[in-house]
């Protein structure tokens, strides 16, 4: 692997049964880079993202994060995951805890931080996502957008080097999307390495350093967002962009 890269994926293959959904993916992500992945549903972009923290187990290839090979059985995946934050389409907050407990859980249980330390960090992060006053609310009392911002704070509480976003705004009402994207935009400005699966073309255009277009289990096209949007090279890319930009 190349130590210049924060995340490096080499020739990744993943099948569900006889259905091969990833057919040899290669991708390099530099520190502080923001990579957006777009493409039609079923093209494999979410599966690819979930391979980066091994929520899905690939059949072959390599995934390096911070230099650790996640597919090496000797590597403790739990340790590597501490450095990879993940945000899900459906938030997945823990309903058996209130907001601040959600944020504090992993730092206390995994890193062994003291309650006071974790609480201070959690309040700071909740403030950062604009939800400090909701610290003691139950997740179910929050709107979707608020829940997603809590989920981001929860992931950040582990002080990760890399953040993975799996369609973070797809399950939100339109008026909620802006707040979440705003939080993500700030995060990008602070220099976080981010890999984002998204349907928000505006966000991809403005924030991404690199745009990747997935189609039928392969990366069909990639490049600077302005170039890909302005001059798509491949037929599939053109078709896709025509559809989503018209909508």
């Amino acid at each position: 692997m190349d130590s210049r890269y924060k995340v490096q994926v080499k020739d990744l293959h993943k099948s569900f049964g006889s259905n091969e959904v990833l057919k040899g993916i290669n991708l390099d992500v530099e520190p502080s880079e923001v990579v957006c992945m777009i493409g039609p549903s079923g093209s494999g972009k979410s599966t690819f993202l979930r391979c980066i923290n091994k929520l899905e187990e690939p059949q072959s290839g390599h995934v390096y994060v911070d230099g650790y090979d996640l597919l090496d059985p000797k590597v403790n995946v739990d340790k590597v995951r501490e450095n990879i934050g993940m945000v899900f389409q459906h938030f997945n907050l823990f309903p058996n805890m209130n907001v601040i407990e959600n944020v504090m859980l992993a730092p206390v249980e995994v890193k062994g931080e003291s309650k006071e330390e974790a609480e201070a960090t959690a309040l700071k992060l909740l403030d950062q996502v604009g939800l400090k006053e909701k610290a003691h609310a139950n997740p179910t009392q929050l709107s979707g957008g608020q829940q997603q911002r809590v989920a981001i704070a929860r992931a950040l509480a582990m002080h990760p080097d890399v953040m993975l976003f799996d369609e973070p705004t797809s399950a939100l009402d339109p008026e909620m999307v802006g707040d979440v994207l705003e939080v993500m935009r700030n995060l990008a400005q602070q220099g976080m390495t981010m890999i984002v699966v998204t349907h928000e073309m505006g966000f991809a255009k403005q924030v991404a350093d690199w745009l990747v277009f997935f189609h039928e289990g392969v990366i069909r096209e990639q490049g600077e967002p302005e170039d890909v949007f302005a001059h798509p090279q491949h037929e599939d890319t053109k078709n896709f962009l025509n559809k989503v930009l018209q909508a």
């Binding site: 929520l55 501490e82 997945n92 823990f94 058996n96 249980e109």
Partner: protein
């Protein structure tokens, strides 16, 4: 009270405790010379053995056999303790060497002689025929086309079969004397064949039947059984004692007390109303109820632990552990609980080489049987927690078991509460099955009381109502807890 006062009380208490310990030690020291034997006996089998309200045999009228044993032990200088079981349980225990002898109305038969040694007989048991008090039937000739009742597997049943062709009646078989006598009383059956002493004792205690046979048939000697070739010392003592009792006329006196005199009349009519039955048996009933509740609470607690382990194995990311959990759940859900109880209490001791106490056997049975159901509930509960919860927890770097404990289990258990409460109620009711191995819980208490007073309908009504009350209270409590939890 000042410090000095406290000190004095403490000293007094310590002196007392010391005296108590010394006294106990002294007492055990003096009785050391007398050996103690374990005697297998029946649950109430009147008039041979009649359990008192507490399920023991320490009362004034404990039954013929118990009184005979008391006299023998006194005369031959030994001590004894009872193992009270069903007759079949007694025979098993004797074969396994868990008891030194069985004294339980045991007839001497050729088949049994192959396996057991017998003392000299102390009684001759025979079968007689009885009819309802107001019946005109006086002999078997009048039974053509009618129904005759007998207890299955007894000599009475053999006799009924023998004369069936000749007299042309139908036979109906029963498990308990009480229901059988009732069948005759209400006119379903014309007559009943049963052991003479059992019948006479019941009639003496208010069962409205009369004996019509002139003479008992199928007379078989009744004796004490020993494992073949074992315990010859005890056998010798028993024989000496029986000979002495016969010679001095004490034996006949004891037998007459239970079959002829009014000395052992149980109780009068005022005690046979429902209220009277409750009052005269309240101590035993409450004790039985207490045992039922203790069994249910300890049982469900053990089942929760066992079931949670099964549930955790069932969802583990390991095919072998999943399979193990599935097989264990399958086996213990598939086994009837009574079979499991027999297996643990009667079967296991011969494998592991030492006795399993009754309470322990009961709890083990509940733990395995109810635990299997709890295991299935726990597994289902864990599985119904959204998969996204696992992913969120694991993506934060939480190891598998930490994620399970902190995130999945709390949500899973909340989903399980209604099923678990239901299982607890089932467990409470299932404790009644343990009466089969003789655990003195509420149902067994009822069986014992009814064997004594023959008031089946009223007693089961009382006991049924007691179960309903407890289950109702439990349901209220669980509704309250569930409401609390969902808030």
């Amino acid at each position: 009270m000042g410090v000095r006062g406290k000190h004095r009380v403490l000293t007094a208490m310590m002196t007392f405790a010391f005296a108590l310990v010394a006294g106990l030690w002294f007492k055990t020291g003096t009785v050391h010379a007398e050996p103690t034997y374990t005697i297998g006996t029946n649950t109430t089998f009147a008039p041979f053995s009649i359990q008192d309200k507490n399920g023991g045999y320490s009362g004034k009228n404990p039954g013929m056999e118990i009184e005979i044993l008391r006299e023998i032990a006194k005369h031959e200088h030994f001590k004894y303790r009872f193992k009270i079981m069903s007759f079949n349980g007694d025979l098993q225990a004797l074969s396994n060497g868990q008891v030194d002898a069985v004294m339980a109305g045991m007839s001497v038969t050729d088949e049994r002689k192959q396996k057991f040694d017998f003392s000299t007989p102390y009684y001759n048991d025979g079968v007689v025929m009885a009819v309802a008090k107001d019946s005109n039937i006086t002999s078997m000739k009048q039974l053509r086309g009618k129904q005759v009742d007998a207890k299955s597997g007894t000599s009475a049943a053999i006799m009924a079969q023998k004369y069936q062709k000749k007299y042309g009646y139908k036979i109906k078989y029963f498990e308990s004397s009480n229901t059988m006598y009732n069948d005759v009383k209400i006119g379903q059956a014309a007559a009943v064949f049963d052991d003479e002493p059992v019948l006479r004792y019941s009639i003496k205690n208010g069962v409205p039947l009369k004996v019509v046979s002139k003479k008992a048939e199928y007379t078989t000697p009744v004796a004490i059984g020993f494992k073949k070739g074992q315990n010859q010392e005890l056998q010798r003592k028993m024989n000496n004692g029986i000979a002495w009792l016969k010679k001095t006329g004490r034996m006949q006196k004891i037998i007459d007390k239970y079959t002829k005199s009014n000395a052992t009349h149980v109780d009068d009519a005022s005690k046979r109303t429902i209220w009277g039955l409750i009052k005269s048996n309240s101590h035993a009933l409450l004790k039985g109820l207490q045992e039922t509740i203790i069994l249910a609470v300890v049982g469900i607690f053990a089942a929760l632990i066992f079931g949670t382990i099964l549930g955790v194995l069932g969802i583990a990311q390991n095919k072998f552990l999943n399979g193990l959990s599935t097989v264990i759940i399958y086996i213990f859900r598939g086994l009837p609980m009574m079979v499991l109880a027999f297996f643990i209490y009667i079967g296991m001791p011969s494998v592991i080489g030492h006795k399993i106490p009754l309470f322990t056997a009961g709890i083990l049975t509940l733990m395995l049987d109810e635990g299997a159901y709890v295991g299935a509930i726990v597994k289902g509960g864990f599985n119904s927690v959204d998969k996204g919860q696992w992913e969120a927890a694991r993506s934060l770097g939480m190891p598998y078991y930490k994620a399970l404990r902190k995130v999945i289990a709390p949500q899973g258990f909340k989903l399980m509460v209604p099923s678990l409460v239901n299982q607890f109620i089932i467990t409470l009711k299932d404790t009644s099955i343990l009466s089969a191995i003789g655990v003195m819980e509420l149902t067994e208490t009822g069986t014992v009381i009814i064997a004594r007073n023959m008031e089946g309908f009223k007693m089961w009504l009382i006991i049924g109502v007691m179960y309903i009350i407890i289950v109702t209270l439990l349901t209220w409590l669980s509704n309250y807890v569930q409401k609390k939890m969902s808030n």
